[in-house]
Every structure is written in C-alpha cells, then in structure tokens.
Symmetry: C2
Amino acid sequence: MSTGFEVVARDGAARAGRLATAHGTVETPCFMPVGTAATVKAMTPEGVAATGARLILGNTYHLMLRPGAERIAALGGLHRFMNWPHAILTDSGGFQVMSLAALRRIGEDGVEFRSHLDGSRHLLTPERSIEVQRLLGADITMAFDECTPFPAERAAVEASMELTLRWAERSRAAFVERPGHGIFGIVQGGVHPELRERSARKTVALGFDGHAIGGLAIGEGQATTFAMVEATVPHLPADRPRYLMGVGKPADLVGAVRRGIDLFDCVLPTRSGRTGQAFTRAGAVNLRNARHAEDRAPLDPQCRCAACAGFSRAYLHHLVKAGEILAAMLLTTHNLTYYADLMTAMREAIVAGSLAEFEAP
Amino acid sequence: MSTGFEVVARDGAARAGRLATAHGTVETPCFMPVGTAATVKAMTPEGVAATGARLILGNTYHLMLRPGAERIAALGGLHRFMNWPHAILTDSGGFQVMSLAALRRIGEDGVEFRSHLDGSRHLLTPERSIEVQRLLGADITMAFDECTPFPAERAAVEASMELTLRWAERSRAAFVERPGHGIFGIVQGGVHPELRERSARKTVALGFDGHAIGGLAIGEGQATTFAMVEATVPHLPADRPRYLMGVGKPADLVGAVRRGIDLFDCVLPTRSGRTGQAFTRAGAVNLRNARHAEDRAPLDPQCRCAACAGFSRAYLHHLVKAGEILAAMLLTTHNLTYYADLMTAMREAIVAGSLAEFEAP
C-alpha cells in the first residue's frame, strides 16, 4: 500500500480528507510549512508540531547539494536527521534548479547545472530526483517536472508541458513502492485551459498516488490561478489528494480549497516571520510600523500561539526594530499557527457544510 | 527589606547561597545569561528558564536607547515587557557607554554621549542610571561606575577608581528602597591590589546589598583576574553576595567560585552559540569543523538539553554551515544549559565539601 487518501466530507467542490503516510495521518485541507534546508527556518521541530503541522515540505535541490542525499541517508534519513517524526513531502528539485542554480542547461535527459553554493557540476534527471527523494526518505515524492516560466509563448508552454509528461513517466517508473510512501504527478500547461486538461488527463493515466498543479502563483494573478485550478480539477480523480504548489496568501488558500484543493505549501508565513510581517484575524500587520511601539495588545487576541499568549505588539515591534532572532522565532510561530488554524477552520466548515459562508479568520 | 542573602554552605573560600529577590530566590553560585536588548538572543524566556536560569542580566545602555526606559515602565516594566517572571539584574550602563557610544565625554557629573543607533545626545549620570534601572524594574540595580580601561597608568587607574567611589555614593543615595530590590556597589582599581583593597573598603562602607568586582576580564589574563579577586574578597562582607562582572570561561568560573565569588555574567555562552561554538564535558567544540559532518553522536551525551536529546553533531554542523537560525537556537540552549549545570555541580560540590577536587564537567 502506498499513501492512502480518504475523503471524509464534501462541501461543493471542497473536501475534508485524511492522508495516511508512513509517518502518520494528515488531515486535509492542509498547509505544509517549508523546511528548505532540513529546518523550518527559526523553528524547532517541536515548535513546528505545536502549531499543528503534521506534514512539512523539504527541498530536494538544497538537500542534494548540502549536506547531500547520500549523507542524509547514511545518517538515517531526513526525518531522523532533522528530528521530525511526522510526514515529509519533498519537491523534485525542478523548480529550484531553474530559479537558483547557475549555468543550467535543459535537455531531454534532465537538467545540467552548477551549484549556487560552490559551483560544482550536477545532473538532475527524473531518475536521480526520485533516487534523491528516496534517499531522503520522503513520505511523498514529487515527479520531476519543468516549471514553465510565466509569461511564455504557447508553443513553448506546450513543449515544456510535454517534456514534463515524459519526465513524469520516467519518474513513475523510477519510484520504488514502499508501504506508506507515495508519488505525486505534476500538471503543467501554463495559463492555457486546454493544455492544463491534456496535461491532467495524461498525468492521471500514469497512475500517481496524488496530483499537483504546478507552474502557478508565479505572476499570473489570483484570478488566472483560480481559472487554471478550475480547468484542471475536473480531470483529476476524486479519490486522490490534490496539491496546489507554492500557494499562498490566506485568501488564495480559501479560494483554492473551495475549488477542490487539499494540499498547499508556501514560504510566505515563514519568510514573512523573518521580515516583521504577521497574518492575523484582523488582516496583515507590519510590526516594523511605529504605531505598534506602545501597543500593549497581543498580535491577535484570538490566537493560541506562544507569541500571542506571552507578548505585546510593543515588544514584538521592539524585537523587529532591534533585529533580534527572537522576532523571527515568535512571528514564524505565530504565522504558522495562523495558517494551521485557517486550514482547521476550513475543514470544520466543510464538515459542517458551511464553506460558502467561510471567511478567512 | 531589600534583597536577602543567606550562605547555606561553605567549602574553603567558596559559598553556596540563596539570594532572595522580588522575583524569586536564586541559588548561588549562579551564572546570569545576558539579555542585552530585553531578550537573551535566540532564546524564548521559557527556553531560558528551562536551562535552569532564574536570574538574567539586562543592559541599561541598550534599553535606555531602545525602546527607552520610560516606555518600558509605561508597558509594565522589563519583566512584563519580555515575559520573564524570574529575577533581573541590570548593569549601570557605565561599561557599554564607554565601549559602544560615540563622542563620549566623561566629567564629574557623568558621561555625555551620542547613541550608536541614531546619534541622539544623552547624559548618563549616577542618578539617571539608577532612575533608568528603577524604571526597568530591576531586582538588582548596579551602581554607576567607570570601567577603568586596561592597560592604564596607575595614576589614571586611581583617579578612575576614586571617581567610581564618588559615583557609588551618589548611586546609593539615588536608589529607592523597595522590598525584594537591592543595589550592588562595584569595586574598581585595575590590577593594583592596594587600589582594589581601598576601593573595596570604601565601597563596603557605603552600605550596599551586594558587591561586584568590575574592570576585570578585559585583557589582563586569568592569573591577574584571580589575583585581583583574592585582593578584594577578604575586604567584602561575608553576608553579602559577590559578583565578578563579565566572567567568563568555564575554568574562570570554577577558579572564581573557589575564591569566594557567587555571581557571574558573560556573553560567552550566548555569543558562542551564534558562531557555532559549544561548551561540552569534553571541552570546547567548533561545529563548523568538517570532522562533525558525519558524526551521529550528540554534542554532549551527558547533557540534558533539547539540542543534545534530539540532534546529532552532523545535523548541528549542517545548520551552522547553512547559516540557519536553528543553529543559534540549539547551540545557545546547549551552552546556557552547560553553564547552568556547571554552577549546579559546583554548588553540590560546595555542599559536599569536595570543591577542591572539582573539575569543570
């Protein structure tokens, strides 16, 4: 048995589900904190789990370069290395090799590149990406894809999407089945509904455990993102989880869950936490702003997190202004708690059949 | 009643004691983590307390400039501001105004300077220093002193020491007595035993609740530090706590406790935690070193801290190399735990009468 997925409630196109992995069951809709370099930045694994997260994302590109996939495998795998007992999904490296690596050259076989860290040469192919993810011990492996740039000519988008399909077939073949471990295919096709549909149908035909929608949230705008989700979801099987990659802001998550998405990842809550930005039930807050300097109120009085329980906006403002590490620690804790509670609230609304009236808390 | 101090055991010149403050009782010998800008860097207050610390140091110079003493007072005091329920000792600002401020000018009245943050002009006098510390809500206030530079001519050292004595008298007079709050005088006198003795006798005569030895650990070397401690301690009353400022390395702490010191502060464990340096029962460890890259062992197998319980040296090495915030969080946790456990072990050795055989764990 690979990963298992059970839909426990529906509300319109939205679903509440349970995703079973080798490292526990994950309730969906679910937001995955990003743990790029084997750490969710500024958080202990215990702190990440306290926010409610039970599934995090690891980055194949970063980990294969430092400390190296073989080294992590020799040290017992990524879960043990970073002391995270819950589930891990790893990306394929395809997105980051294009955005971070130097001198990259895409061919039919894969991507040749130089490391942004030390200039060393590497070749990332579908087979190597799947092998790296197996060495890391990912509960959920992602097929190796090309994230088509935006904007791009339709012919280029189509060629890129077809390359991703050929890589998907090789990725599926390279994946070693293990109990509680699954592999997801990635739908591409830019902002063209007919390409999205073709990509979805052909990807689904390859027999993946779940399906991601990639190549979005890269500048096309929320309306187009949602339109592409709507063009794709009807062609994905209802009994497998759906993952919208790299999304997003709270309102993006609500709109995508309404359209049938189960899983998300984004650096926004963690990166924002390191730049003084917080998400609250009263909207986004910039703690660098001097209006917080004497504010005794917590960041979000309805929030259960340690930052809101113990500290005033005045103190958080002081920490941000002083460039203190504790600012990143507390604001990341808060933002991940906010995101986790948003997902829980949506799940409860789906179960209650009230998602139509749901507003981001 | 000001702060109370009770010696519960003696072993040679060393003492085990209890220091009672408005925010709880502190067992001595005690090492105070440094919380410069209303945060022990890279630690939550809960994490600091988990290391065993019950008394931390706050910096008057930093806090008076940002966010400002009056603002902290308006927000309920430093304990509430930083969510630290245990005791706080604040320094007088004298040391940092000389090491950090721009365009400083020392006169009989105090020190005029410009802020290193924004160039704003300030005057720090004994009266203002004591007022700032009262506004912060310090359990233990330090008298305003001049930390005599090293090396310096004997005449300059003597003149500086005499200025500190005059400032000590003004500091004592400016201190507002409150239950559980005390003020400590500071002995200066450079590396001259006769000046140390004169400074000690005259400082003691002013009637402080405890006595600090200042102006050491600034380049004179451990042997001279210890010689100055030996020249000073016999002239300090046995029923008041003794605090050796800015010290130090583990071996410095052991040597100073043996010579009758009860309290210490130093940035070493916290600053080292942010540069990949750790203190262990097997000596100092530089986690940046490549020899740790594949080491599955914990940093210190005998340590009770979260970093040693959950993570390998290989993982800590990876975090340090990648510049991850979690490296600072885990290594600071470890170093402060090591320091706290070192003090506890010395206390137990004093109670057992075995401090002579004690070696830093």
